[in-house]
């Protein structure tokens, strides 16, 4: 029987227990956790006297409260680290960056693997061909103790990328375009199976951006069928080739098939208060901006920092804008330092901060006040998420964020601004 990619991955992980109708019991290859959500399960884990099923398959990162900004958070953070050490978690990454970025930089994240995480953006590992999905603390507690979880086999939607991504666009614009196609529940419970058939191939950073926001369509998995680009990334990271790749069967059944010609893409923006409220940048005119944020697991990689630096070229940002840059991991931060990107952005007026989630979830390092209007590379602009209930967040690519930081407004109309020619969109 022909199978989609994720069905092949799931079938490889069946635990051998009886199927419960549409639900199957699967063994996982890795489990990802962070300081906020693991904290919620420690008591349940301890009172039931549970033990980690395989500590070599567990990766924990303290990305929400790194470093803690309040006493309460310091307590949560310490409790998390103590728990990880006492239970023998083998891959405890302290102050190394956002858990999803740290995971894809680690050999635990392999194409064809089944990964669970205590955070909805675990799906991002799909950029490397892993079937990865986020769950809540109770599910994670169960999986931590057993190495298994229950899953409904998802149907798949085939998304084929063709053509050539314009130089002014990035994976982020692809992600926003997918939001406009599917909305907030168009892929609910499904697997988005991405096929990169573009002329030049999408770079790995762009694939992570696309996979990251797949969860905002309601998808369970957002996975790129692995190929040469996947192989190159694994080789460079692991010093060894990945195991032979799974491929979907040519006649696999999909509930929907979408062909996307990337040549026609232009910079996109999601306006308050939904990631699906997407329109071209050119539809936006003279919206005053007070905050610019580049970071988060959705848009804090080298590609994003580089796009921002190339857009600004050391020019100063607008006086009304405060510009925060948070590299998604220490590894990204170091690369950006070595290549001069950090210095260039500092020259423009950016404030750098420790690799962590920061303002994305309204945590710290640039939370928004009542009158703030933020342009951000993070993945959600739900009302009240990044700060005050009245604050407004526009989601966009790093290039678009940098452009708005320079102009002081979110504006897509090519026009003369203060005597300077704007960059052609």
């Amino acid at each position: 029987m022909p199978k989609t990619y994720c069905h092949k991955v799931i079938d490889r992980h069946l635990s051998g227990r009886a199927d419960d109708g549409p639900y199957c019991d699967v063994a996982i290859d890795a489990l990802l956790g962070h300081d906020a959500t693991i904290g919620l399960l420690i008591d349940a884990f301890r009172t039931r006297d549970l033990k980690i099923w395989d500590s070599g398959k567990v990766l924990f990162a303290n990305d929400h409260f790194s470093s803690p900004a309040s006493i309460d958070r310091a307590e949560i953070s310490n409790r998390f680290i103590d728990f990880a050490r006492q239970e023998g978690v083998e891959h405890l990454m302290i102050d190394r960056g956002i858990c999803h970025q740290v995971l894809v930089e680690h050999a635990l994240c392999q194409p064809g693997s089944l990964i669970l995480g205590a955070d909805s953006h675990t799906i991002m590992a799909g950029g490397l061909g892993a079937c990865a999905t986020g769950m809540g603390s109770t599910d994670i507690c169960y999986a931590l103790a057993t190495g298994r979880t229950w899953l409904r086999r998802p149907e798949s939607i085939k998304v084929v990328f063709k053509g050539r991504l314009p130089t002014r666009c990035s994976g982020r614009d692809i992600a926003l375009m997918l939001m406009s196609v599917f909305g907030e529940d168009g892929a609910s419970y499904r697997c988005l199976e991405f096929h990169d058939e573009t002329d030049n191939g999408l770079c790995q950073d762009d694939r992570f951006s696309v996979a990251n926001m797949a969860v905002e369509t309601g998808a369970k998995f957002g996975v790129f069928v692995p190929d040469a680009i996947t192989r190159d990334y694994c080789r460079a990271r692991d010093g060894a080739d990945p195991a032979p790749f799974l491929r979907p069967d040519a006649d696999a059944p999909y509930v929907q098939a979408v062909d996307v010609d990337l040549s026609r893409l232009s910079p996109l923006v999601a306006a308050p208060w939904s990631p699906a409220n997407v329109a071209p940048l050119t539809d936006h005119h003279a919206i005053p901006v007070t905050r610019a944020f580049i970071g988060s697991c959705a848009g804090g990689r080298l590609r994003d920092l580089e796009d921002a630096a190339n857009e600004l070229r050391g020019e100063k940002i607008h006086a009304n804008v405060r510009f925060t840059v948070i590299p998604a991991s220490m590894a990204v931060y170091r690369e950006a330092l070595k290549s001069g990107i950090v210095e260039s952005l500092l020259d423009s007026g950016a404030v750098f901060n420790a690799p962590s989630c920061g303002p994305c979830g309204g945590i710290d390092k640039g939370v928004l006040g009542r009158s703030d209007v933020c342009v951000s590379t993070s993945n959600r602009n739900f009302r009240g998420r990044m700060g005050h209930w009245e604050s407004r967040t526009y989601l966009a690519s790093a290039r678009t964020v940098a452009r708005a930081a320079r102009l002081g407004v979110l504006d897509g109309a090519p026009a003369q601004v203060a005597g300077k020619e704007t960059v052609n969109l």
Binding site: G21, L40, L50, G136, D139, G218, F382, R383, W389
Partner: protein, 162 residues
């Protein structure tokens, strides 16, 4: 809540009610009192104080879209919300609810959403899988499948661990 009925007043919500609206991030805490107080705080800070045990939430499509943070479920449980009835649920939210014994039901007919009165008392009949309000024909709900039922009977996912 007794085993066959859930009784309370109906609170109605629209489509795509996300987890940041259900429980704003600033109420994330390991302290139950903080978690309890945060329910729908940004949308309407008078809502949580007015809730009564057993109250029933009725929502449109994709209820609970967004984060996997279980604090939204914990807040609903701490506030003793009796059940959530919706046209559809976002998948992580539904899992979290099932795993913690919070009863969530999907409407069989999406059009029935409009027939349910906000503010009025209602009964969710677990045996008949229906929501009843005085003077109206019962609204049919999808029965939970055997798998979900098993978790609910046990009292939650962790209770099924041997």
């Amino acid at each position: 809540m007794n085993k066959t009925h859930i009784e309370g007043a109906v609170w109605k919500f629209g489509d795509d009610v996300n987890t940041d609206v259900i429980h704003p991030p600033q109420f994330f805490s390991l302290d139950d009192e903080v978690v309890k107080s945060g329910l729908f705080n940004g949308l309407d800070s008078t809502l949580q104080p007015r809730l009564r045990p057993g109250d029933i939430f009725v929502a449109g499509r994709n209820f609970g879209v967004g984060s996997s943070r279980e604090t939204s479920i914990r807040s609903l449980i701490l506030n003793r919300v009796g059940a959530i009835v919706a046209i559809s649920f976002a998948r992580i939210f539904f899992r979290n609810a099932v795993n913690n014994g919070l009863r969530c039901f999907e409407l069989i007919a999406a059009d029935d959403f409009g027939r349910i009165d906000a503010g009025a008392p209602a009964v969710v009949d677990l045996d008949a899988c229906a929501l009843r309000q005085a003077g109206k024909t019962p609204v049919r709900l999808h029965p939970p499948n055997a798998f979900v039922n098993r978790i609910w009977e046990a009292g939650g996912l962790l209770e099924t661990l041997a």
